[in-house]
């Protein structure tokens, strides 16, 4: 067995790395938020608080695995599993490096978008089955937000697809050898960034789980490891969106030769992860109707115009 696309070793390593990185992000986010809020953040457990995630995990694993008696048991249990599995499945098409990846799919982008749509089921089922008004409100908001932001998340990527002529993420990365797509597709990049934040319901678009308004939203009733899966799922989504931005707009693994491709990929992705955490530290949450009208009335027309302009430019240059 060796490191090649689709080998068992590669798949296992990717799965392990992605989950460990997502768990470590819990600590990283708390530290970074601390620095940006002029405090220190957790720095007691291990060197500079690096083992904080272990303490958190021990706590979350040893909690009672509790299903409320009024909840719909089956959907309550499978909801957190859905979000973990769809996001992990999305990583299957992400090209980490020329020889690292799970599949070389020629419908990579479509697969990611489809999995993101399936993720909406997780929050809907979680909120509905909890039989809790806050959870219901949260899942209502989550469903509406994810459905509306998926529309132009897809459209914003069509510019990249038109430029590279492929849905295959590997082909898209290799097509950026001459120049990153962030330059011709800057509007698409910004729209994808915003939609990505909304898709992974991170602040400032964490309206489905807005603590100040509706407790924890759709995972109000969850505790223990089921909550942990929602929690890690959110960070997995963060890593996924960051790595997708890296692949689609910032040349994926491409970079000067003094570092191996996988390191370039990781560095670029981590920059975006840090940027998402900065967004959380800096930007307040919009109102729910502001979020919806912003999406439908501003971002959707903008992404359509961007797509039309890209198409016209490609046609005129032929």
């Amino acid at each position: 067995m060796s490191l090649e696309i689709g080998s068992g070793l590669t798949i296992g390593l990717i799965l392990l790395t992605v989950i460990v990185v997502a768990a470590l992000l819990i600590t990283v986010e708390r530290r970074l938020l601390g620095f940006w809020q002029e405090r220190l953040g957790p720095n007691r457990v291990g060197w500079q608080g690096s083992l904080q995630v272990v303490a958190d995990m021990v706590k979350i694993f040893t909690k009672e695995d509790w299903v409320p008696p009024f909840a719909d048991r089956l959907s309550f249990v499978i909801a957190p599993a859905i979000i973990m599995s769809v996001i992990l499945l999305s990583f299957a098409v992400v090209p980490f490096a020329p020889n690292i990846g799970v599949v070389d799919s020629n419908v990579g982008i479509l697969f990611v978008l489809a999995m993101a749509s399936l993720g909406a089921y997780s929050v809907m089922l979680g909120g509905l089955s909890s039989d809790n008004k806050y959870a219901l409100l949260g899942s209502l908001r989550a469903a509406a937000q994810m459905v509306s932001y998926e529309v132009f998340m897809g459209i914003s990527l069509l510019g990249v697809v038109a430029l590279s002529g492929s849905f295959n993420l590997r082909v898209i990365v290799e097509a950026q050898a001459g120049g990153w797509y962030v330059i011709p597709q800057f509007i698409g990049f910004v729209i994808f960034l915003i939609a990505g934040v909304a898709e992974s319901h991170r602040l400032p678009f964490d309206i489905p789980e807005a603590e100040q308004e509706i407790c924890a939203g759709y995972h109000t009733e969850y505790s223990g490891m089921k909550f942990g899966m929602f929690f890690v799922g959110e960070y997995l989504g963060l890593v996924l969106v960051s790595s997708l931005i890296t692949c689609l707009f910032f040349g994926g693994w491409l970079g000067p030769g003094f570092l191996p491709p996988i390191v370039w990929f990781g560095l670029k992705s981590m920059v975006f992860v840090a940027f998402f955490i900065l967004l959380r530290a800096a930007i307040p949450r919009p109102r729910y109707d502001q979020l919806m009208s912003y999406g439908w009335l501003f971002l959707l027309p903008l992404s359509l115009i961007n797509l039309l302009a890209t198409g016209a430019l490609i046609l005129s240059s032929q």
Partner: protein, 179 residues
Amino acid sequence: MYTLIKDTLLTQVRTLWLVFRKLFSKADTVEYPDVQPYMFPRWRGRIILSRDPDGEERCVACNLCAVACPVDCIALQKGEMEDGRWYPEFFRINFSRCIMCGFCEEACPTNAIQLTPDFEMAEYVRQDMVWEKEDLLISGTGKYHDYSFYNVAGKQIAGKDKGEALNESPPVDVRSLLP
């Protein structure tokens, strides 16, 4: 259009930049149990009873602090010494009720009761939150070093008759004023 972009987009970018700069600024917090934060002298923390420069208790058991206390956490009983000084026979503060409002310090006419910057007031046993006079009394003068109530007040005690206090004129014989 420009105003719209400025108000919606550029302000957000500016916020991001301002918050990002905080990465390089020193944290406002300290690692408390290892590093003691600086406590300002006027901090309203644990209550003490101070003594005057001669080492006598300042408290004259006037009960004003107990009256001013909004949560009724102060209890005391007046006693009188042979030389005429008043003093508290017992003085009890229930710190589990105290809200550190400082009204007692404001009400005190003799600067006896004072709030200090000590904030580490946790106890394992609830009864340990109730402090008696011997726990509350400190050996020093607290925040006011020269003040001694009986030296400036007109109250007559042994060794100091009426009119002998600082800035006090001798008592007037009212009969001499009669026409």
